[in-house]
Symmetry: D2
Amino acid sequence: MSSDSTTTLAELRNLVRRFVEERDWRQFHSPKNLSMSLAIEAAELMEHFQWIDIAESRQVGEDSGKLAEVRDEIADVLCYLLALANELDIDLSGAIRDKMVKNAAKYPVERSRGRYAPPEREGNAP
Amino acid sequence: MSSDSTTTLAELRNLVRRFVEERDWRQFHSPKNLSMSLAIEAAELMEHFQWIDIAESRQVGEDSGKLAEVRDEIADVLCYLLALANELDIDLSGAIRDKMVKNAAKYPVERSRGRYAPPEREGNAP
Amino acid sequence: MSSDSTTTLAELRNLVRRFVEERDWRQFHSPKNLSMSLAIEAAELMEHFQWIDIAESRQVGEDSGKLAEVRDEIADVLCYLLALANELDIDLSGAIRDKMVKNAAKYPVERSRGRYAPPEREGNAP
Amino acid sequence: MSSDSTTTLAELRNLVRRFVEERDWRQFHSPKNLSMSLAIEAAELMEHFQWIDIAESRQVGEDSGKLAEVRDEIADVLCYLLALANELDIDLSGAIRDKMVKNAAKYPVERSRGRYAPPEREGNAP
């Protein structure tokens, strides 16, 4: 059973909050610094896909060693995202739901199927 | 009541999965491309903190206009993170919990309080 | 005497070109991969400034150890930038000059002095 | 005739220095902020290669419209790199030459030909 099916966002946020508070690290966790941290961790994640091609990147899930490394980096990105949401008191579920409504308007199903640009203009964004 | 306190990770993952599948976008969603997307969105989030200082960045939560923009960017980062977890079939709650155990070993509470480097070496990492 | 005052861009481009060709690495140096590499190196550079404040970052030039590390990261970013310019056959001097003309039009001296936003709109960009 | 063959690094650095000083922008140009700017511009460059595959990215040079956009982004990255070198008073030519010596030791020609990892370990880095 996957624990994502029973774990709420709030539980993970609390895990991160406690870790930060126990170490008195909120003094370093300004939104400016956390936004840098998030970008740095995203780059470290990207490093695992830097020199391989698109097809090979789809095989990473089959290689348990590589997958473990990628899983670790994804956790780092998510930790900083949760820390930032904690600092700014942003409800992530609400933010995602609101964004998906906007995205659905920007990329209507019938006109976006298999196309990665919004219908109204040339662009780049699934 | 915050919806993060009742929303599971799996619910958000399904929201993203459905959006992607309805548009037949999995063909674009290779882990390589998604890692780039995550880094691009993290940079867009960082842009909101680019020219302000650390103290000002802590005030962003007070400015509802700016907060709405930042909230939108955070949602974008999280969407791609969830999409990547979907592609690689990674349980995020487990990944975070495992990482927090490693982090707790690397940054023991007593020796890390108010210090942003691991005790054993000079470094840079809350 | 600084060697930047006597070294042309072409000399540095040739240095990188030779290094890449000797190792038969052009096969890895697609523009897509190089753009990722550039972003990854930029993040590694940023890591040196992640947890320090703005004033401290101005002191990095006084600390010879830190400066050496930062200098190394800047070299990495520039190497990939030159490699990308080589792959796409872009004249960098021309690209910069053209961009500075656009920037000068966007940020007229009198109306941009000490302000980091273009005059016509709120924005974020020195 | 390519202007990179006659333009020195110092000339481009002066171009950027003058632009920044005329607008009294050094106050915003702390190394911390400039490292963020560099990463942000690198991400904007990467955006042009986000959804295309490796082979397509090699064709960008043939498409004059796309090439012009990419050239513009590369100029932005280089501008911030030059601004950072100006702030920290780093000689770029010397930095690159020193780094290439290190890289040549790390990736000896005979053992690195066509392989993108250093010989001594599994890794990821042309």
